[in-house]
Symmetry: C2
Subunit: 157 residues, 2 copies
Amino acid sequence: MGDIYEIESYEPRSGAGHLLGKVRVAMLAALDREFAADPELAKLEVTSAQFAVLSWLCLYGARSASDLCRSISYDAGAMTRMVDRLESKGLVRRSRSADDRRLVHIELTDAGNTAFPPMRAVAVRVLNRFLRGFSKSEARQLESFLTRMLENAHAEV
Amino acid sequence: MGDIYEIESYEPRSGAGHLLGKVRVAMLAALDREFAADPELAKLEVTSAQFAVLSWLCLYGARSASDLCRSISYDAGAMTRMVDRLESKGLVRRSRSADDRRLVHIELTDAGNTAFPPMRAVAVRVLNRFLRGFSKSEARQLESFLTRMLENAHAEV
DNA sequence: AGGCAATAAAAGCCTTGACAAATACAGCCT
DNA sequence: AGGCTGTATTTGTCAAGGCTTTTATTGCCT
């Protein structure tokens, strides 16, 4: 009934699915490029995926590793090795929870905390560039659209 | 001046970048799930990435392999192997261009052409589900937002 | 014709995400 | 206490993308 796209007339080229993918690829590429271009950050060789983890940890923390996975839609197996990499760079620290020894607490080290702000500045700059020409209310609307899509995704059938 | 996000107040959790990623992951997962669930399509074992290629080829065609890469934001090296896979499934066919022998034409086989419509039906259904509750004008607006972001991405600095 | 830069595709290697199996632990039931 | 079920993390293996190099070809210039 309230369908947006019809099977016959659906044009991937201008459809939301295809565009979503392209925007995301472009955004991650831009982020990686700018991380690599920044003389300070280049040394750490942080990727956009690693930034997503650091970012979440720094601002919201995580109850556990799998909690973090759900937060950022990341695979649990991949997260173990992701944390390995970040740990070897000295940006995060692991520790078993005393309450529930199944859980692993992951937190930023001092090095991680100092490295984060410039990365965030780069990320905000990139994001703003993608939103150039948007009014604040348009940006809020975009966020709201995406949030609603996410809710629809979780609502089963 | 017209910046949408401020460094201090930026909240990844509700920001466009993070949401974009989550929506996309959810959408591809839903698509893969439905492809696997469909008794007809399951036999072909098409992934969402393969569907993107078939989809583009069927509706728009491609001048060459790298042309196709640009169209759907896909790596050229990966495309070679992607086409290998699709070719081994008998869905596409390669042929050297007579005009410019550097180029490889890629086109759907008859099997590819018949396999595509049901895949498209599934994709449209998934997309519509994500857009449940959207008015048509809201959907158009979302598309326009994403298109504008893409244009901003290409506009250099 | 020969040289040269640009472009296209493919092949090789590396990294990394996805999925499955294994292990460890917690909570509940009996 | 013992057993069962569910959850968390880790490890192994595989599949796939990213990057780099190689080869083939074209178009341009001399």
